[in-house]
Structures are given as C-alpha cells and as structure tokens.
C-alpha cells in the first residue's frame, strides 16, 4: 500500500526546507518528496490519500528525556501508556531515563525496556542506561554491554554523579562506544532539602529553596570536564540564566557541550508555586522571570540545542500531599508542542529551528534514526495543525498520570497525525470521533 500525504507544508530542518511538498510513503519508507500536483499514481495501486492542507509536516518529533516508570512503578506510567502519550504529543521517538526500579544499570533491564517497547509497538523507545551501578556514583556500569543491548546514552539522571573523578572517567570511557553522556546538574549538598527555587516566592511561602547555583556549579563542572577530556557532555534541563551563560561561553571556546531545556522553563516561573501547587514542583525548579527570558535567548541564539520534556509521571499518591513531601516532576509529552509553537508565535525562534530542537538536534546528539524527512528514510513524521485551539483538560491526557501545571491552559497547535515507519500511531480526528 502507498500513503500519499498531500497539500501540506513540509518543514525539514536538516535541508532547511519549508515549502508545500507532497510525501509518498511505501513500505514504511519515504518513497518520494515532490511538489504538489506532480504525483501521478498508476490506477491499479492501493492508495491511501491524506489531505493535510493548512497543516505542517515535520520529521517525527523526538524527546530525548522522558521517564516511563517501567519497570517498577507501572501505576504511574508504563512503556505502553507513555508511548501513547508520546504519539499523542507528536513524538515518534523518546529516550527514557534509567531511574526505574530497578535502575537501568544492566543489560537485563535495558533488554526488558526494549522488549516492552517492541510489544507496545507505538513509538521508538530508546533506553538511557545509568552511568554508575545503582546510580550510586561508585562503580561505572558496563557501557559497551549496555550499548549492545540497546542503550543510546548514559546518565545518572536525578541522582547525579557526585564524584568528579568518576564523571571524568565516564566521559572518557563513553567516548570509546560513542555513547553520549547526559548530566542532570545538581549539587545535592547545596540543594539540601530544597523544594522550590530559592527567591522571593520561597521566602514568602516558607518553603526551603534550591539556589540557582546548585545547578550552575555542576554545569560548570561538566563544562570543565568536557574541556579536560575533549569529549562531549550533554546538559539536561537547563533552567537558569547562569547556566545559559556558562554554556554560551563554553561553546564559544569550542568546548564540546550541548544542552536541552524543557517547555516549563520557558513557559512558567516560580510564582506558579503560589498556593502550594505541587504540579509546579519539579527539579530543577521553576525559576525567576529573568531566567525564563534567558532560556528564551538561549533557544533563540542556539545555545540551547534541544527541547526535551523531562516527562515525569506521578500519581495522586505522590502529588496530592503536603508540598514538601510531594514528588518532583511533571508530565510534558502532550503539552510540549503547543508550548513550543507559542514561542514561535512570540518570535523567539522560527518554526524551522523550533522543529530542529524537537527532532533533528536530539537525533544528532543521540545518533538515532529520524529527525529529518528524506527519500529512502523511514517514514517517521508528524502532522501539525498550528491553528488548532483548545483547552488542555485533565481527561484529555493519554498519559496514565495527570500531574501537569498546564491543565486548564488555552493551547494553540496540535499534533493531528503521528506516523512511525509509515504506520499511523496517533490520529487526533479518529481519537475525537471515538470518544
């Protein structure tokens, strides 16, 4: 069967294409990309035609930072439910962090995740393995074995490597296997028992603060280790002005560092916590308006390469409790696209670079397929209606969890169709008619 997607505007960051083009898909691959009206199928072929006039066709979005909670906390999210949430948000591939139970520090856990993802058969799920056994900052995991089992990167996300020498060796050793090293930057001693950003709001609410320096100290350490070793480091979820500036300087000096931020860091500030809203509690915490502006600048001028969600599902058990006891983290897969498109409308970046940060750039950093629309490549793509307006409500999430500070927010822009290897894994119209 052939799928003919016609009348859409194709946006491909790699080739810097942004014009009306039709896509013809055959056997899961992109057969041809051609100007509208040029496709001339023979009469006997079985054709499914999808008219997407007024919509945008992009490479399938890639989220390099999610938490799918399987194995261990399936009541929050499974690989299957997380994959549905990803597809509904326009994502065709995700990289899932190792802080499951048990921690993904061995071939058996990595293989389990790969197998679960294969069975769910929705989006591409790439495991990120731990840097150290049990993420305890003591002994390195077997990077080569983990890579062979399917890991695409290593990170001790959430339990950052405290031992700088171990981190240095991890960066060096990972290079041999071309495994990117992702660092969740947090000085655990300086964060101490902090539960939100340290500033006027924490002072007013009487909540222990996490200073911006807690993140920045580790950002600087990773930059210096990248400089020392000459090998790359990727900085996860950048949230402060200082981090953006340190990364900017590092890049100017040619130090091999890349960085991501999450949509909440350019959409919300620490005032979202007022009223003790646990859905505004995450690590790193929501910062100040000046930090939000700096993140936007970083996105605008390319200091920040990637937008990743840090999708962190938690149930009411972890969220509907006292603020200081509540878990850190929010879900993000189903709100990332409209929040990013809001930045495009605001003029922070153009559509092509926004899509690059959601597809081509993470694919390049992780060396995974996708991130571009090219003839002969797998047909992983997302069809976006940029004008679709709706209110995000609690019931509309595909994720098993509902911990989002964006519930009730007016959104504009929606993934209408998500396709992985030529197969439709999300169809918003069909989903609506079924409800």
């Amino acid at each position: 069967m052939i799928t003919w997607i016609k009348e859409g505007e194709l946006v491909d960051p790699r080739s810097e294409t942004k014009k009306k083009l039709d896509i013809v898909i055959k056997k899961g691959k992109i057969e041809s990309i051609i100007p509208p009206g040029k496709y001339n199928p023979s009469h006997d072929t079985d054709i499914k035609t999808i008219d997407v006039s007024g919509m945008i066709i992009t490479p399938g979005l890639i989220d390099m930072h999610v938490h799918f909670r399987e194995p261990g906390e399936e009541y929050k999210e499974t690989i299957a439910t997380g994959s549905h949430a990803a597809a509904a948000g326009g994502f065709t591939a995700v990289a899932c962090m190792p802080n499951t139970r048990p921690i993904n520090d061995s071939r058996s856990v990595t293989e389990f995740i790969v197998e679960r993802a294969r069975k769910a058969n929705i989006v591409r799920v790439y495991p990120v393995a731990a840097i150290s056994i049990g993420s305890r900052s003591e002994i390195l995991t077997e990077f080569g074995d983990l890579k062979q089992a399917g890991a695409v990167a290593i990170s001790d996300d959430g339990r950052p490597v405290t031992n700088s020498e171990l981190m240095r060796r991890a960066i060096e050793y990972a290079w041999f296997f071309h495994l990117p090293v992702i660092s969740h930057c947090q000085d655990l001693d300086l964060s101490n028992k902090g539960v939100m950003h340290e500033g006027t709001v924490s002072t007013k609410l009487g909540l222990s603060g996490i200073p911006a320096a807690s993140e920045e100290i580790m950002v600087v350490r990773e930059i210096l280790l990248a400089k020392l070793t000459g090998y790359p480091v990727h900085i996860a979820h950048v949230s402060t002005e200082g981090s953006v500036e340190f990364i900017r300087q590092a890049k100017e000096q040619g130090i091999p560092v890349t960085a991501e931020t999450a949509p909440h860091y350019f959409s919300l500030d620490h005032t979202a916590v007022i009223g003790f809203n646990t859905n505004a509690k995450m690590y790193p915490p929501l910062r100040e308006p000046r930090d939000v502006e700096a993140i936007k600048r970083g996105l605008s001028d390319g200091v920040i390469d990637v937008i990743a969600t840090d999708h962190a599902p938690h149930s009411e058990l972890e969220k509907d409790i006292e603020f200081d006891k509540a878990a850190f983290g929010i879900i993000g897969l189903e709100t990332a696209l409209p929040l990013t498109l809001a930045l495009v409308r605001e003029g922070v970046m153009d559509l092509t670079s926004a899509i690059a940060k959601l597809s081509y750039n993470p694919a390049s950093i992780l060396s995974i397929k996708g991130g571009t629309l090219e003839e002969g490549k797998e047909a992983d793509l997302t069809i976006i209606d940029p004008d679709n307006e709706y209110v995000m409500n609690k019931e509309s999430f595909q994720s098993k969890s509902r911990n989002s500070p964006f519930i009730g927010r007016k959104m504009k822009g929606k993934a209408m169709l998500t396709m992985v290897g030529g197969r439709i894994v999300w169809d918003a119209d069909q989903h609506n008619s079924e409800r």
């Binding site: 924490s202 002072t203 007013k204 009487g206 222990s208 603060g209 200073p211 509907d320 409790i321 006292e322």
Partner: protein
C-alpha cells in the same frame, strides 16, 4: 496573615479586647459556642499554642477534641487528606491544624467543609501568634502604626517571623530583621523589611524587640557553630538593650532558651512582656473562634 485585611485584623484585635475580661472572671466560661465542636489537630508537638486554643474553646463552651500525630493514623501511614476526610465525616465546625509542612492547612482546607485555622505550618506562617503579638503591642504601646520593631534570630526558618512581618507591615509598623547571614532568607526585602545584621545596630531606637527561639540544628542544616557563640554575638543582654528606646518591650513566642537568645534576667525583667503574650494568646484565639464559628460554619484563617 497574608489573607487578612487591615480591617479583619482590627476586628480580631477589638474582639479579643472585649473578650479579655472573661478570663478574669471567677467563672471563666460563657455559652457562646455551646454545641460547636472543634478539632485540635496537632501533627507537630506544641504546648503553648495547643493549650491556648483548648483554653479558648473551653471558655466559650465549645467541645474540643485533641489529636496529635502519635495518636492519629498518620503514624500508620495515612495521608493528611485521608485523615481530613475522616475528620470531616464527623462533621466538626472547625479544625485547628499544626503541621510541619508549609502549606498543609491549605491542602486540608481543600478537602473539608469546616473552617481551618492554621496553628503553624512548617516555616510558612503562624498567624495566631502574629495576631497575639500585634494585640500585645497594641495594648502595651497603644498603637501599632509607626512602631519600630526589630526581630532577631533565625528569620529564614521562622513562621512566627514571617507572619509577624506580614502583619506588622500591613498595620503600618517599621520592621527590621537581624541575625547571622545564614538565618536571613534571600530577597527578604521583598516582604518590606530592612535588614541590619548586627543586633547592636539593629536594636537602636526600637520600640519592640522580638526574639526567636534558636535551635542549633534546623531543617537538617547547621547555620551556626554553637549556642555559646550565638549568645555572645546575637543574644539579647543588658548591654545590648541599652541602644533601644527607654520603654522598649521584649517579646518572645516561647519556649525561651535562657542564656541563648535572651539572658534570664531580661526574660524576667521589667521590659519583658513574654507572659502577657501568653495571656493575650487565649483572648486572640477566643476572638477567632467566636468570629469564625460564632455565627455559622467556619471560614478559613491563614
């Protein structure tokens, strides 16, 4: 205190003033709240505040039930919300909550129909303490507006300081805070206070010196090396107090550490109004109970 307006505060203080007299009668009881039930839910240890609320409720003839963390199901792993729902099922008129987590009363109030009084939440607020402090200042000084108040101690981890700062600023007093830099919260000027770290300078020309209880270990953080050194550099003593106004009053929410934040002779001396604060506390809490449930079902107070 954040939610109270100036007229709310004045009403509470005036009501407390008119109820003061009940506590000096032979029969210290009026039937105002007969048939009302109040739950004193103290998830964190407290002597003064708990006793004060109980006394206030009893003087107004309300029925009270006291729960502490150790005899509640919270030690059995029940969540605050589940405990709240169970209490709700017994239909109390008012729940008074003391809790170690900032914001806990706000969480509780979302799940119960009865009114909730915040009797101290984490390091956030302690509004009834601030009200009784305002009441004490007003009685001793005749006014609050224009008073020059200094608060010395661990401001960062004090709900008493936070509520007093908010209340005093609303009522037009000048507030200075003082103490070692480790105890001064970031951006505290945003609350409308002046920071003078050195107590020697901070007490100059003040009408009121308010001290806070010092604990060597707080929130798992060590903010200063020893009680001994704290007493030397930040403790209130007869030398230090000389810079203040001649008719200065010394306040402390208790329990006091004699010889640490204040010397024993000053705590018992003529400037001290520490025990007046305790007496006034009962009146303030009577006023709150009366205003909140004297009419119908309770409102919330934070």
């Amino acid at each position: 205190m954040d939610q109270l307006s100036v007229s709310d505060i004045n009403l509470i203080l005036d009501t407390a003033d008119s109820l003061m007299e009940i506590s000096s009668r032979d029969i210290k009881k009026v039937p105002t709240l007969r048939g009302k039930s109040i739950v004193n839910f103290f998830y964190e240890p407290s002597t003064r505040t708990k006793a004060s609320f109980e006394m206030a409720a009893k003087r107004l003839s309300a029925d009270t039930l006291s729960l502490s963390a150790t005899d509640s199901s919270m030690v059995k792993g029940e969540t605050l919300i589940d405990t709240a729902r169970n209490l709700q099922a017994m239909n109390p008129d008012l729940i008074i909550l003391r809790h170690s987590s900032s914001g806990a009363p706000h969480l509780l109030a979302r799940y119960v129909d009865s009114g909730v009084i915040n009797a101290g939440d984490g390091i956030h607020e302690h509004p009834t303490q601030a009200l009784l402090d305002l009441f004490t200042m007003k009685k001793k000084k005749g006014r609050i507006k224009g008073l020059r108040v200094v608060i010395i101690g661990d401001i960062a981890h004090s709900r008493v300081a936070r509520s007093n700062i908010i209340g005093l600023r609303k009522m037009g007093a000048e507030v200075t805070i003082s103490g070692p830099p480790t105890m001064i919260p970031v951006d505290v000027e945003s609350l409308g206070v002046k920071v003078i770290l050195d107590p020697v300078k901070a007490v100059k020309n003040k009408d009121v010196i308010m001290l806070l209880r010092i604990q060597l270990e707080r929130q798992g953080k060590v903010l200063f090396p020893s009680l001994r050194e704290y007493a030397i550099f930040f403790g209130l003593n007869t030398q230090l107090i000389k810079g203040a106004k001649k008719d200065v009053i010394i306040m402390h929410p208790g329990p006091i550490n004699r010889g640490v934040e204040i010397t024993g002779d000053l705590a018992d001396g003529p400037f001290s109004v520490i025990l007046d604060q305790v007496s006034n506390g009962v009146a303030i809490r009577m006023a709150l109970l009366y205003l909140l449930i004297g009419g119908g079902k309770g409102d919330n107070l934070d």
